[in-house]
């Protein structure tokens, strides 16, 4: 038997850094519980860990230029992974900043909160790097398990507990479906690595086609749950509404980004031979996701629920880009442009969605944070700055020019047109029009003349303000100068091929 050599673990340094700061945050929370100043330590540790991971991603030799596959291909830190991990770090930073004031207002112990948040980010990063279905599964599970606990973090709040149980049960079921799909893939290919699956997919015989179809259906269910694709979206409005506000902001973005990152890598590196199964299925799912998300959002009066349905609809738009990229017969150029559009959409979506959820945490009419349209009525007069920021996020969610939302939609729709998916492009544009109506309902409420209930006093501290201002600036910058980010996205996507 040959001597065992340990694999080179250097590429895991960013993940290890964040995991270690998670452990420190948990320890700080446990040891320094009785000192009020300690409340500031855990979020500071979280921020330091997330920011320190960024230069470490680039410090690994060649990680950004030459794709390197270590651990016999289990884990890879190519440009695509690094690009997504940068975004995930930003998600973690915004989620941390948004949470500080909320946890203080709710008088919650916070060490474990930031620890679990960081571990959720680590899970997201692992799925972005996974080149083996075992690691993909474990990464998604680390993410899911952390978010179950975060959703139920307010133990005295029955809504929080209810949505945690709902999320846990449904998500476990989705995980089981994902595992079944992965086991069928293993049956087809005899291996768990993406390379083995790709090799098996290159020459599928007639009998195996049906198995491949089944596994694609199960994978769509499992990954689609995390990405809130219809018909696996039912949980999202309930869970986002019941979850603590800052967790809802993370939940609407984190799992979705991880799911789309994993889906892109899976489709490009493992399942190009399965495209004829994926494309028709995802086309239907995409149209359903956009349409149902937007139509149901029209009738919502709770802003958290409305934003949840809008996040479902946005998942449908993102899926357009993926379908366009894998439509049979597209050139390599169109394919990378479509995938780059999806990556760009993920970036834009992160800032506008976290910003919109974050604004709700800065407004507190009465004894709880703003949730309904009535809570926001007349905000433009009393809190002009908060109203203006929310307006920026709403304009971006609608897709008004000069905001990130517009450029993102533009790139995705135009990639669909150049790939020849006209149905999807038309469905997307029609949906964008429908969506504008309910976002404008919020905007109208903001600047309504008649005063709403209660006095919406400011609930945010400096960290929340920083997070919201940074998100709004990012949206405007992305909208006005989209070139640089799109170019980075394009390069990162090319590293996959």
């Amino acid at each position: 038997m040959e001597a065992m050599t340990l694999p080179d673990l250097r590429e895991l340094i960013p993940e290890a850094t964040i995991s270690i700061s998670a452990l420190i945050a948990i320890l700080v929370g446990a040891l320094a519980r009785n000192y009020s100043s300690a409340r500031r330590i855990a979020p500071a540790v979280a921020l330091i860990g997330l920011v320190a991971a960024v230069p470490l991603m680039f410090a690994v030799p060649h990680a950004t230029t030459v794709p390197t596959a270590r651990f016999e291909g289990v884990f890879v830190a190519d440009a695509f992974a690094v690009c997504l991990k940068l975004l995930f770090s930003a998600v973690g930073v915004i989620a941390t900043l948004v949470s500080v004031n909320f946890l203080e207002a709710e008088r919650q112990a916070n060490g474990e909160y930031y620890g679990l948040l960081l571990l959720a980010v680590v899970g997201m990063m692992l799925t972005a790097s996974a080149r083996d279905v075992v690691l993909l599964f474990l990464g998604l599970e680390v993410l899911s398990l952390s978010t179950y606990v975060l959703v139920g973090y307010l133990r005295k709040d029955p809504h929080s507990t209810e949505s945690a149980i709902k999320y846990f049960l449904l998500s476990s079921f989705a995980t089981a479906l994902l595992l079944y799909g992965l086991s069928l893939l293993y049956g087809i290919s005899g291996g768990t690595s993406y390379a083995a699956i790709r090799a098996a997919g290159a020459h599928l015989s007639g009998d195996l086609r049906l198995v491949a179809m089944l596994s694609v259906v199960f994978l769509t269910a499992g990954i689609g749950f995390k990405a809130t694709l219809v018909p696996f979206h039912m949980y999202a409005p309930d869970v986002y509404q019941g979850a603590p506000g800052c967790v809802a902001a993370f939940l609407a973005v984190g799992p979705k980004l991880a799911a789309f990152g994993a889906l892109i890598r899976l489709l490009v590196e493992a399942m190009p031979g399965f495209a004829s199964e994926w494309v028709p299925l995802l086309t239907v799912v995409s149209i359903l996701t956009m349409t149902i998300g937007n139509l149901v959002a029209l009738s919502q009066s709770n802003v958290k629920r409305m934003l949840a349905y809008s996040s479902i609809a946005h998942a449908g738009y993102m899926l357009i880009g993926i379908v366009a990229a894998f439509t049979p017969g597209v050139t390599a150029d169109v394919r990378s442009q479509a995938l780059a559009a999806v990556v760009y959409y993920l970036v834009a979506y992160t800032f506008m969605k976290m910003g919109a959820f974050g604004i709700l945490l800065s407004i507190k009419p009465g004894d709880r944070f703003a949730e309904t349209l009535d809570d926001l009525r007349g905000l433009g007069r009393r809190r002009p700055l908060a109203a203006a920021l929310l307006l920026v996020f709403l304009l971006s969610l609608i897709g008004i020019p000069l905001t990130a939302g517009f450029t993102a939609k533009f790139y995705v729709f135009s990639s669909a047109i150049s790939a020849g998916c006209y149905t999807l492009a038309i469905a997307g544009i029609l949906n964008a029009v429908v969506a504008a109506t309910y976002y404008s309902r919020i905007a109208i409420a903001l600047y309504a003349v008649e005063p709403g209930r209660g006095e919406p006093y400011a609930a945010g501290g400096i960290s929340l303000k920083v997070a919201l201002a940074a998100s709004a600036i990012a949206i405007l910058l992305l909208g006005i100068f989209p070139g640089r980010v799109l170019e980075t996205a394009l390069q990162s996507v090319r590293s996959l091929f």
Partner: protein, 219 residues
């Protein structure tokens, strides 16, 4: 034939009225057992060569697993249910051994029959669950559930049945892939990262359990 089982199982669950739960559960278990045994004997006669011993033991062990699984689902006493589940896990462990996956057989016994079942019993006895009440059954929802289950089952069977024994391990797979040594080498070689991530997963579960169930903590 296979698709009859879910239907049968559904109607053997504790039911108000005609059948008491006991009769239902025992009849179902007996029916499953007899038909499974006949299938085993028939197969043994048909094959009749050296492989038949393995085939017959497979059928006998799966007979244990299926019968006890019936008892788990149809019973109303949670302690009996947990005890029957031990039988199911032991049967499955035996199947693993027949398939020459000794390691998984051992793991199955130690982890599932040992650790997890003891945990189940602890919980069941500590929270003092009441006896499960018999439920009314039927309606659109039940029929829709059966139809969906049967449809999925039919699809899976249709997809997997023609493959039969043609699925082969990938080229380069170890000669005895499920021996303890092979599992260890794989865990600390190519699967080192997933192995470490699994420990991260356990950490998350541990911290999460403490956060959700520990002493009330406020800052």
């Amino acid at each position: 034939m296979t698709s009859v089982w879910p239907l049968l199982l559904y109607y053997l669950l504790p039911l108000v009225g005609l059948w008491t739960y006991r009769r239902g559960g025992r009849t179902g278990t007996l029916a499953a057992g007899i038909s499974w045994f006949l299938a085993a004997v028939a197969l043994g006669v048909v094959i009749g060569d050296a492989r038949s011993f393995a085939v017959i033991s497979f059928y006998l062990l799966s007979l244990v697993a299926v019968m006890t699984a019936f008892l788990v689902v149809t019973g109303t006493n949670p302690v009996y249910g947990a005890l029957s589940l031990i039988g199911t896990f032991t049967g499955i462990a035996g199947v693993f051994v027949v398939l020459q996956c000794e390691f998984f057989g051992i793991v199955q016994v130690i982890l599932y029959a040992g650790a997890i079942l003891v945990l189940y019993l602890f919980v069941v006895m500590m929270v003092d669950l009441p006896k499960e009440n018999a439920q009314k059954r039927g309606g659109v929802r039940g029929i829709a559930a059966i139809a969906t289950g049967l449809g999925l089952l039919a699809l899976v069977v249709k997809a997997l049945a023609p493959l039969g024994m043609r699925l082969q391990p990938a080229a380069g797979a170890s000669a005895e892939p499920y021996s303890v040594r092979a599992v260890g080498t794989a865990l600390f070689g190519p699967y080192l990262v997933p192995f470490e991530v699994a420990s991260l997963l356990l950490l998350v579960a541990l911290v999460g359990a403490i956060v959700l169930s520990g002493r009330e903590r406020e800052s």
